[in-house]
Amino acid sequence: MRAAAPFYTLNYMVQYSQSRFDASFAALSDPTRRGVLEQLGRADASITDLAEKFHMTLTGMKKHVGVLEQAGLVTTEKVGRVRTCRLGRSRLEEEAAWIERYRQLWDARFNELDKIVEELNRKEKSNGRDE
């Protein structure tokens, strides 16, 4: 009766049913970007590593990573002169997004519950008049 477990599956629908779907799909439509995701699935990497691996210029790879980052598929973090890329959003962003999905589930439930409360209210009032 809890929200957490349904999210495991709900997550997919909610995450991809909204505007993010477009961004994700656009990001994934490019073979290099899919390759980058595959690569980051194995290990975090710097933009320089990725540019070398995919035989691209730094500027070209930065653009690809930027698209993935916009879609929420990749997070980057700059430490010193190196920008490291990894899969997914940052932990804090993930948590905020998860809590928002949790809130949306309860909000959707409560919107339905509102109708039932209204109905029971009406019923109670009309019964009151009958008595």
């Binding site: 009766m1 809890r2 929200a3 957490a4 477990a5 349904p6 999210f7 495991y8 599956t9 709900l10 997550n11 997919y12 629908m13 909610v14 995450q15 049913s17 994934l28 439509s29 899919r34 995701l37 595959e38 699935g41 929420g72 598929l73 899969l87 997914g88 959003r89 804090l92 962003e93 993930e94 948590e95 905020a96 997004a97 998860w98 809590i99 928002e100 999905r101 949790y102 809130r103 589930l105 309860w106 909000d107 959707a108 439930r109 409560f110 919107n111 339905e112 519950l113 509102d114 109708k115 039932i116 409360v117 209204e118 029971l120 209210n121 109670e124």
Partner: protein, 174 residues
């Protein structure tokens, strides 16, 4: 932690608020236009719960709802969802049922599940509902959050990859 109102944060005018109140607790609040006994009734009569627990907009359906709503009683909810042929089952036990102010139940479909407490506070004919999911540890709540995050999406990327390959192959033939 104050991450709840940033990034993907809720619209400020939403009537439903949710926050991580501590390392191991999530809290949801909402006010209803009715007395506590009516709101409580909608949480404790299975035929009423069936009507709101699985909102249509979330693509899930509640296949069955058995609930023996009294202290020590058990419940069993079965959901269907388009992502899987297997229905999902949720089970637990009511630790406290105090009409019309307080409900407490366990969530036992998986280890380290939360204990859910719902309180109904009536004021001027309206009811403030506060729902708390209290996990046994910070690790348990972190794990629940992580299980729904995009980090576990490797498999779905593979499926999407497969789909895109199929689509481009079809395009080639056409």
């Amino acid at each position: 932690m104050d991450a709840t109102n940033e990034g993907d944060a809720a619209p400020a005018n939403s009537r439903t608020k949710a926050e991580r109140r501590s390392d191991r607790e999530l809290v949801v609040t909402r006010t209803f236009n009715g007395p506590a006994r009516i709101v409580f009734e909608a949480w404790t009569r299975p035929e009423l719960m069936m009507r709101w627990w699985a909102p249509k907009s979330f693509g899930i359906t509640l296949l069955s709802c058995e609930a023996d709503v009294r202290t020590g009683g058990t419940y069993r909810l079965v959901f269907g969802h388009p992502g899987s042929d297997q229905p999902m089952e949720f089970v637990g036990r009511y630790l406290e049922v105090t009409p019309p102010t307080r409900l407490v139940w366990t969530n036992e479909e998986e280890e380290d599940g939360a204990v859910t407490t719902v309180t109904f506070e009536e004021k001027d004919g309206r009811t403030l509902l506060v729902l708390s999911d209290l996990y046994p540890s910070k690790e348990a709540l972190d794990a629940a959050i992580a299980s729904g995050s995009t980090r576990g999406f490797g498999e779905q990327f593979e499926q999407l990859d497969e789909l895109l390959r199929t689509m481009s192959a079809d395009g080639g033939r056409a």
